[in-house]
Each structure stands twice: as C-alpha cells, then as structure tokens.
C-alpha cells in the first residue's frame, strides 16, 4: 500500500467505527469525510443527516457548508430546521453525533465558543451551533480532531458541549441518559473513555506513532490502555475512496466554475 498522511489515517480510522445501521448527525470537516468514506466502503446503508435538514444524504463530493445543494439533491427527504432538531435529534433518532472541536479536555467536554473569558474573549470562535444538544441527545458522540497542545487542554475555557463533565457518573447526575463521547480519533491515535472514570484513554496508536508523540501534542498526562494496539493501516480501497472523494471535492469547489460542469448530472 502506498504511503498515507496522518490526516488520512485519522479520517479512515474514524470511518471504521461507523456501522451500516447507524444514523449519523454529521458535522462539517473531518467528521463529514469520515462518514462519507464509511458510506462509500463498508457501511453503504448508513444514514447521514446534516443539521440543515437533509436526511439520508449521499453527496458525491464533500459539502463545503452543512447546507450545500447536493446534500438536498441526494437526500431521502429534506425537512425544516426546527423539525430536524425536534423530531430527529431531540426525538432520539440519532445513534452517532459526530463532532469536531477547537478545544477538548480529557473527559470529552468541548469548547468551540471562546478562547479566554466569555465576556472579554481573546478569540471569539463561532460558537456551539447544534453541538450543545447533539452532545446530549445523540445516543453516542464520536469526536475527531488533529492533536495539539492548543486543542487538547487540561481545562477548556468554555463548556460549549458537555462530554463526561468531571468524569464518572457526571452525565447521569445531570439526568442525561445518553452515552456521551465514546470515541476520539486523532491524527495519532484512537481513544476511548475509561469505563469507570470516563477519561479518554489511548487504545490504539496509528502505524509508526509513539506514545511520546501522543503525549507531546496533548495538554494533559495521557493514559494508555493496558493493551495498546496498532491501528490497522488504511486499506487500498479506503485510501482510494478517500482520495477520490477529496479530488472530486476539490474539483467541484474550485472557483464558481463548478456549476456548469455539474449541470449535466444535476439538471
């Protein structure tokens, strides 16, 4: 197999966690790529939902926004945004909520709101969008992000969305009955929460990655599982699928000129 980047490994490792029976609420970026690779490889039956209202969508290229036209054109149905959040997310129909993060802590709490103080932020980030309720209404949360000390921090600056809080049974104490973050896939490793403490623990290192590299790019003392496996390298099919998807995406998004080319298929 040809060489692959850390980012490709991350996307492909994340995609493997998805099953054909999953109903997946998809964020833009790495989550979207992972979900679509899953759909195009081992999980063709997967249902992908974007918060713009598109249910069961099958885009040929990755959307730049969560409301691109192709998401609607290929969907089983497209509903209003209030319905999306009421019937589909809050209604408990989502098995996997797939989130990215600007900042994350060891318990899977996520910050995408501010760096610094909320009232006087150093950096004003976009905010939560759908995440606060995805984090508690989806049956499980998968997170995918590249590692860095800036992103994986001891204490996040703002609780945009709740993971396992202070760990342990904190979710249950707040009356939240969904599982919360059950998987974190970075560009270096696969992490799962410890069954008791709920702290994210490295269960698998991507090929060629050392424990030291994981620690160097993480702001808290990393815990490793008793047995740490090596992530299976991307298969030829997985890698080709991801690269084809990215190539189609780049071609389609390049300048506005995409429209004419796509017309014959869409029209």
């Amino acid at each position: 197999m040809s060489a692959f980047t850390a980012n490709e490994m991350m996307t492909i490792a994340a995609s493997r966690a998805l099953k054909g029976s999953d109903v997946c609420f998809v964020g833009i970026g790495a989550p979207s790529a992972a979900c679509n690779v899953a759909r195009l490889t081992h999980a063709p039956g997967i249902t992908l939902i974007y918060e713009s209202g598109t249910i069961g969508t099958a885009p040929d290229v990755l959307p730049l926004s969560i409301g691109d036209g192709e998401l609607c054109e290929t969907a089983v149905t497209t509903v209003s945004v209030p319905e999306m959040f009421r019937y589909w997310l809050q209604g408990g129909r989502i098995t996997i909520g797939f989130l990215g993060a600007a900042q994350i802590d060891r318990f899977g709490n996520i910050n995408t709101t501010v760096i610094g103080d909320y009232a006087r932020p150093k950096t004003r980030l976009p905010g939560g969008g759908g995440a606060p309720e995805i984090a508690t209404s989806a049956q499980q949360i998968f997170i995918t992000m590249a590692q860095s000390k800036r992103a994986m921090v001891d204490r996040i600056d703002f609780f945009t969305s709740f993971g396992h809080g202070e760990g342990g049974d904190h979710r249950k104490r707040l009356g939240i009955d969904t599982a919360g973050p059950t998987l974190l896939v970075t560009d270096l490793a696969v992490w799962k929460p410890d069954p008791a403490t709920k702290e994210f623990t490295v269960v698998s290192l991507h090929p060629g990655v050392t424990r030291e590299q994981v620690q160097e790019t993480c702001g808290w003392p990393v815990r490793f599982a008793a047995t740490v496996e090596e992530t299976l390298a991307p298969t030829a099919l997985e890698l080709q699928t991801l690269r084809d998807l990215k190539a189609r995406t780049e071609a389609a998004h390049k300048a506005g000129a995409s429209a004419g080319k796509r017309g014959s298929k869409d029209g």
């Binding site: 809050q90 606060p132 309720e133």
Partner: protein
C-alpha cells in the same frame, strides 16, 4: 415592489431584524440594500450569521447580535464580528448567544404564537450560565427540568425565496431551513424572489408555500442570495466565501470592498454575479 422601497418601508433604526437563511437562500441583496440605506442600532437575529452580518457589523449598524453559530461556513471565523466582540471596533457589540436547537425552537414558538419554547437542551452547557434568557420549567407530569427560551419575534424578517406568484404567495424549496418560521414569527416580512410566475398550478400540495397574506412585501431580485445559492437556479459561490476571509481580515480592505461592491452598487448587480453559477441547460 422595488427592493429599495420594500426595505425603506419595513426597516427602521433600532429594529430587531432577522435576515434568515440556513446556508441556502441567504437574503444578501436585501442586506446590502439595508447597508446602503444606513440603518443604525439594529438588533440582528440569525441562527447562522455569516457574510451579511459580518458586513453589517463591520459597517457599525448593529448594537446587538442574537445568534447560535457565527462562522463563515466551511471556511472559518467571521473577522468583522471578531473585531467588534474582541476590540469593540467599529462599535461594541452586545451578544445573546444560543444553541441552534434553542433558536429553532424560539422561532417555531413565535410562529406558533407562544411566549416561549421548551425543549430538552443546554444540559451541562456553559451558555446556560452566561445567557439570562435561558431558563427552565418543570414538566408537570414527570417533573423533568426542561430548558426554556423566549420566543423570537423580530420586528421584521427578510428572506430570499425561489418564486412568488402574481397573487403574492411565495414558494420555498430545497433546504427550507427556518424560512417559513421566521416569516410567521416576525411582525413584518419582506421576501426577495428569483422570479414571479403566473400561478402555482401543478405544484405538489405539500410544498412550503407562504400565503400572500403572511408576507408584507415582495421584491424580485434574480441572484439575490449570492454568494449563497438558490436551489434550482444557481449554485453556491464557494470561491466568494473563501475570498471573504481575506477581505474581512483587514479593516481597510473591508471598507474598500464594501464601497465598491455594496455602497456603489444596486440590487440589479446580483443577476450578473450568479451568471456563471447557473446550471447548464
């Protein structure tokens, strides 16, 4: 009615106004007209403030922003908004921040004539601690604590839609977002459309149609949601979103761009902007 008049008659300084569109059908032409008319002290409401609110904030028109996700979709941050929040430039901006679920429920509740929305939300979320408009009620049957937010009732809503008919009914299709709810939630509603057709005969009965008596004014502005898109008419101008990141990064570049592309232009400029984005026949 001409867009200029529709905006002048329905928007006033100090209004609470929603220019809504969920990535699709963003009412850019209406927002640009509001910028040209130079309104002040607006409270801007939108789930996903993007370029048009970055522009209005950068021009100093907004005193407050009510929102749930303030990003340049698929690109990154909104730099004029950041400048206002972080540096108070060109004027400080008060913010009331919610989640998407809260905003969607709040528009829905207002469309439904209710004073508030209840939903299962904000559990463990930091916004509940910094936003006094996030409260709670107890379910009178199970005792469960549910989040409550006030209904959103803008003075005026602006949306872009595909079609109106001669009677003034409006059709929205594709990603319908929150278009119907914001029109029904607002006291006044102004709609820009791609075109006017004689009637809607032959349309499927269950489509999203706003009857004429729910809409205050309609203006025909082909291309009026560029660089967003209009399903069935033209594609999203992804390049313009990427380009915005560069323009908005610098105060002077921003000013010059606004002068050239908004202040010195009119609603008729939009048709040409989408010409290269229309589907091939």
């Amino acid at each position: 009615m001409p867009l200029e008049r529709a905006v002048a008659e329905n928007l006033k300084d100090g209004d609470t106004v929603a220019f809504e569109g969920f990535t699709h059908l963003i009412p850019t032409a209406a927002a640009h007209e509001a910028i040209r008319q130079g309104f002040k002290d607006l409270t801007l409401v939108r789930m996903t403030p993007d370029l048009i609110y970055d522009q209005m904030i950068g021009m100093g028109m907004a005193k407050k922003l009510v929102f749930s996700y303030a990003g340049n979709p698929g690109v990154g941050l909104l730099r004029r908004l950041r400048d206002a929040v972080e540096n108070g430039y060109p004027r400080p901006l008060e913010i009331e921040e919610h989640s998407h679920a809260a905003m969607a429920n709040a528009y829905e509740a207002s469309a439904a004539g209710l004073p508030c929305a209840i939903f299962r939300g904000y559990r463990g979320a930091g916004l509940a601690e910094v936003n006094p408009n996030i409260r709670s009620v107890a379910c009178p049957f199970t005792g469960e604590t549910l989040a409550a937010v006030p209904a959103l009732r803008p003075d005026v809503a602006f949306i872009h839609a595909q079609k109106a008919n001669r009677r003034g009914d409006v059709l929205v299709e594709g990603i319908i977002g929150i278009q119907k709810e914001v029109v029904l939630a607002a006291k006044r509603a102004v709609v820009t459309v791609e075109e006017v057709v004689d009637d809607f005969a032959g349309l499927h009965p269950n489509l999203t149609v706003l009857p004429s008596w729910t809409v205050t004014a309609i203006a025909v502005v082909p291309g009026g949601s560029h660089p967003s898109y209009a399903h069935g008419y033209y594609d999203r101008d992804n390049a313009a979103y990427l380009e915005w990141d560069r323009i908005a990064a610098d105060r002077e570049t921003f000013r010059a761009w606004m002068q050239e592309n908004v202040l010195e232009k009119g609603a008729d400029a939009f048709a040409a902007r989408v010409a290269h984005l229309r589907k091939a026949a």
